[in-house]
């Protein structure tokens, strides 16, 4: 029976049910936010421990491409997890539909950055597979289900019981259960192989056959099934599938670099930039990007060497010349990043139990139409059978309409006007298809420190952001003096980059950047900009 409330949350619907627990669609009664609530049934201490462990692992990770834990509590004696409720569909279903390479590269970029960040944070996922990746309506992906993740520390050489899904298990796990970041890399490569070709290279009808394939079968060249795949990208994926862990690349740098190369440069970079702006402070600096994925320092180094070699005067001239050229290439919006309407679904997740047979893994769910109109309900989920494992809440990205300013809402400060007409560099983006629900603009709270007598780029992340929004700097509720907006660059609906100039004698205090719509009404809350010494 579906409970009316779990903790403080009002239960709206049952999203999925498995042998070990249930996942509900809930709503925070105070702020109206939709959430996914995962509860565990029974008193199996092992399952409860894993449940608590999952909470701790996810709670310690803050990355835009990793599902966020919002709360953990007990309802009576039963623990429950509250996670962001994600729209979209599982990658396992997503890859069965035709998608462009650009869309696939967005997913690659997100998954690789998420895993890289988790590894940097000392966490191994240990169950990377398509059903544990949720593709959002905007084309970005989020990694979820850290139920069997473990801290990397002390675990790199540790042995333990075998967990995971056979087709995605690295061979060394089957040999000696020695997990390492390269095991996650391997699983990620299998996932990518499947995404690019549509087939898992080790899939078999039985678990035993699948395990045999993992141990003995060298997967055919990915380009045999996908000839148009760029060679470098194909080689990068294949390199990660090496049976010997030591012969796989160290980290995700090669994959990301190949993806950037395949995309012709800007798209993955743009994606990375959006990823670099976190939902929480600690995610503001996700794992340092691999060297190959950070071209900017190389360009700066080249300029530096050139400048010092030819003298200050020449530097001045060159800078002037550079300045007269295009300021910065506007990132190309990946096609997949444009919002598309999608049925809201929740995907039952993987098993938390090491003994759950892989064949019992639930397949997702309700019929969905990727580009079809939004369904009237928040989503539907086919209930897995009793034998199915614990479902994973399909995440979130809740637009939280109740938190967003209604277009009809009168602005508290309608007379606010920008000090300087910003130069809007509008990046071509696809308009949301008709029928898509418009998302009210909303920015994530953030704080940036800048110094007087300098300029700075402020990345403002949110959702529902639009090219027509205009950034203004406020002191309190009035236009600020001493800080000017030089440029405003719309990257995508989740990111607008604002360049500001802080004049020399600007008072050392906190200001805020907000967005106005065309009517001059303030439509978002502020991002703090603190002017410091």
């Amino acid at each position: 029976m579906t409970p009316a409330k779990i903790g403080k949350y009002t239960v709206v619907d049952l999203l999925g049910r498995g042998g070990m627990g249930e996942v509900y669609l809930g709503e925070d009664p105070y702020i109206g936010r939709r959430v996914a609530i995962k509860v565990i049934k029974g008193a199996d201490p092992g399952a409860r421990d894993r449940f608590l462990h999952e909470a701790k692992v996810i709670g310690g990770l803050a990355h835009p491409a990793i599902v966020s834990l919002l709360d953990f509590d007990f309802s009576g004696d039963e623990p429950f997890l509250v996670m962001e409720y994600l729209k979209g569909q599982g990658l396992d279903a997503w890859i069965k539909e035709p998608h462009s390479l650009t869309e696939q590269l967005v997913v690659l970029d997100d998954v690789c950055h998420a895993l890289s960040y988790a590894h940097e944070s000392g966490v191994l996922h240990r169950d990377v597979k398509p059903s544990n990746v949720q593709v959002l309506p905007n084309g970005h992906a989020k990694l979820m289900d850290f139920g069997i993740a473990r801290a990397a520390a002390g675990k790199l050489t540790a042995t333990g019981s075998v967990m995971g899904t056979p087709e995605y298990m690295a061979p060394e796990i089957l040999n000696d259960a020695a997990y390492s970041p390269r095991s996650d890399l391997y699983a990620c490569a299998v996932l990518l192989y499947e995404m690019f070709t549509g087939a898992n290279p080790f899939a078999a009808k039985t678990v035993a056959a699948a395990l045999t394939n993992v141990l003995t079968l060298n997967p055919p060249d990915i380009r045999a099934a996908r000839p148009e795949l760029p060679k470098r990208l194909a080689e990068a994926v294949m390199a990660c599938l090496h049976k010997e862990p030591a012969l796989r690349p160290d980290g995700f740098g090669a994959l990301l670099a190949a993806a950037r190369d395949a995309a012709g440069g800007p798209p993955p970079a743009a994606i990375q930039e959006t990823r670099a702006l976190p939902q929480t402070p600690s995610a503001s600096r996700p794992s340092p990007p691999p060297k190959a994925a950070a071209p900017e320092p190389r360009r700066s180094m080249a300029r530096w060497m050139w400048g010092t070699g030819t003298g200050l005067i020449v530097v001045l001239g060159t800078m002037w010349a550079v300045n007269r050229g295009p300021v910065a290439p506007g990132p190309v919006e990946p096609a997949a990043a444009s919002p598309s309407p999608e049925a809201i679904t929740a995907t039952p997740g993987p098993s938390l139990s090491p003994t759950s047979p892989p064949a019992a893994e639930p397949t997702a769910v309700a019929p969905r139409t990727r580009r079809g109109p939004r369904e009237p309900s928040e989503g539907s989920v086919a209930s897995p059978s009793r034998e199915e494992p614990m479902p994973t809440p399909a995440p979130i990205a809740t637009p939280a309409p109740s938190l967003s300013a209604s277009p009809a809402t009168p602005s508290p400060t309608p007379r606010t006007t920008p000090l300087v007409e910003p130069t809007v560099i509008a990046t071509p983006v696809q308009a949301p298809p008709s029928g898509a629900s418009p998302v009210a603009p909303r920015v994530l709270a953030g704080r940036h420190q800048v110094r007087p007598d300098s300029s700075a780029d402020i990345d403002i992340k949110g959702e529902g952001l639009r090219p027509d929004l205009k950034a203004v700097v406020l002191q309190g509720r009035l236009p600020a003096t001493g800080i000017r907006i030089l440029r405003q660059e719309f990257v995508n609906s989740g990111l607008i980059r604002v360049r500001i100039l802080i004049e020399a004698a600007t008072p050392l205090r906190t200001y805020s950047i907000v967005f106005q719509d065309a009517s001059g009404a303030m439509v978002t809350q502020g991002v703090q900009v603190e002017v410091v010494l």
């Binding site: 600690s282 209604s406 009809a408 909303r442 300029s455 600007t506 205090r509 906190t510």
Partner: protein, 457 residues
């Protein structure tokens, strides 16, 4: 109860003003703990209530429409319900109007508060505690400085900036020494972005160390040798300064600072120019020195500047001191390179010209993430910086005591780290090795460990 709402709002506003709390515009999804006590939170709450009312009214309208359609063939009971609903609609519209007016009044009050706060000075403080242990010397703990920075912009074109230093924070003068120095205090009038005038106590625009002299922001404990012995940082003077900046596109910023100041006096010696800084309100020769710096910046990642100084320094107003400097700061990802070269030449009547030159080059490598995240748990952006610096300075000039012409050299190598859990606090540990030829310019022939804790709030 309803009448009390404006009073509550006004009370909040007054309390807000009294505590000089910062009113930041918050959306309705602002974090309650940060905003619940502010008028903006009240606005957000009103907004939420308005939204609720609006939704309720919309639902009522739909219901009324539906009932009207049915009422045609309905009985009296349904008509009565319709009337009740219409009455409810009228009441809601009245409440909606009242709340809208209340919201407007609250907004106006907040605007007034913001305007007042915008004209109010801001206060920032910073300071350092140093621990120094050189070979052959007793170790020292030295609360070197505590500084108060005041800034304000009461008008878009008028601003002021002041920095008061309590050095060796003890009693001023007397057996415990100590001093209070007005390092900067100027008012600025901006005619245009390209031209502003500052008057008062100015930071002399010469080299990147002097114009950005805030100790906690440096990666090493001590200021570079060149900025101690050659350009006497912190180098401040009374005068008038012209500043301006011009944007080239939106990435590059060209800036100039040019000043007329009292200038340095004749206390140029073979160990540096620190004693040549004149007291405020004094000029030994009436000649005003001209000094300026031209800089090019790109965001926070690149800055280069050239500086120049000229002025007569002797009491007879005959001999000229000329100097120039070039500085650079560039970031390449986590690597940051900083350097400055200074050169001064002082004409003399009979002796050889006094020549002063020196430079420093510093490389810093910022490390973020990893173990640091655990070490600095709870901080947003912890940073661990490995740093190495090379100093060199040369002065060929007269000995202050016997007037003999000397050639003094000093070099220094510094290595260490700086740990910043946040930008507001820093722990620095350095190892220095210095070597001199003839007289010491600053540190002498010493090696030693230095540590410091700095803060900026």
């Amino acid at each position: 109860m309803k009448r009390s709402k404006p009073i509550v709002i006004l009370s909040c506003a007054l309390l807000f003003a009294a505590l000089t709390a910062r009113a930041q515009p918050k959306g309705r999804d602002a974090r309650p703990p940060e905003t619940s006590a502010t008028p903006d939170a009240r606005v957000a709450a009103l907004q939420t209530e308005l939204d609720r009312l609006r939704a309720e009214m919309a639902a009522l309208r739909d219901e009324i429409q539906r009932l009207r359609a049915e009422a045609v063939k309905a009985d009296d009971g349904l008509s009565a319900r319709l009337l009740a609903l219409e009455a409810r609609q009228v009441k809601l519209e009245s409440e909606f109007t009242r709340l809208s007016e209340e919201l407007k009044r609250t907004g106006d009050a907040l605007d007034q508060i913001s305007e007042g706060e915008g004209k109010r000075p801001s206060i920032t403080v910073y300071g350092t505690l140093q621990g120094v242990s050189y070979t052959g010397q007793d170790s020292i703990l030295d609360a070197e400085a505590f500084e108060i920075v005041l800034s304000g912009r009461p008008h878009p074109r008028l601003s002021f900036f002041a920095e008061i230093e309590f050095e060796r924070a003890a009693a001023v003068g007397g057996p415990r020494g100590g001093e209070v120095v007005l390092e900067q205090a100027y008012a600025s009038y901006s005619f245009a972005q390209i031209f502003s005038v500052r008057t008062g106590v100015l930071l002399v625009p010469f080299g990147n160390v002097n114009v950005d002299h805030f100790a906690p922001l440096r990666d090493v404990v001590r200021k570079p040798l060149v900025s101690y012995a050659i350009a006497p940082s912190d180098w401040t003077d009374n005068g008038i300064q012209f500043t301006g900046r011009r944007l080239a596109g939106t990435s590059w910023l060209f800036e100039y600072e040019a000043a007329l100041i009292a200038g340095l006096d004749s206390h140029l010696t073979s160990v540096g120019m620190r004693e040549a800084r004149q007291p405020f309100g004094v000029d030994n020769n009436g000649n005003k020195a001209a000094v300026g710096r031209f800089a090019i910046k790109r965001s926070t990642s690149f800055e280069t500047g050239i500086s120049a100084y000229t002025g007569k320094y002797d009491d007879a107003n005959r001999q000229r001191l000329n100097g120039w400097a070039a500085d650079l700061r560039a970031e390449f990802g986590p690597i940051r390179l900083t350097g400055e070269y200074d050169h001064f030449t002082a004409n003399t009547t009979i002796a050889p010209k006094t020549q002063l030159a020196g430079y420093y080059v510093r490389a810093s490598w910022d490390i973020r993430g990893g173990v640091l995240r655990n070490l600095a748990r709870g901080f947003d952006d912890p940073r661990f910086t490995l740093v190495a610096q090379y100093d060199w300075a040369r002065i060929d000039g007269p000995n202050a005591i016997n007037a003999r012409f000397e050639r003094n050299r000093e070099i220094g190598i510094t290595a260490g780290f700086a740990y910043r859990p946040s930008r507001q606090w820093v722990l620095k540990v350095n190892y220095e090795k210095n070597q001199i030829t003839n007289d010491a310019l600053d540190r002498g022939d010493r090696r030693g460990w230095l540590g410091s804790v700095g803060f900026v709030f």
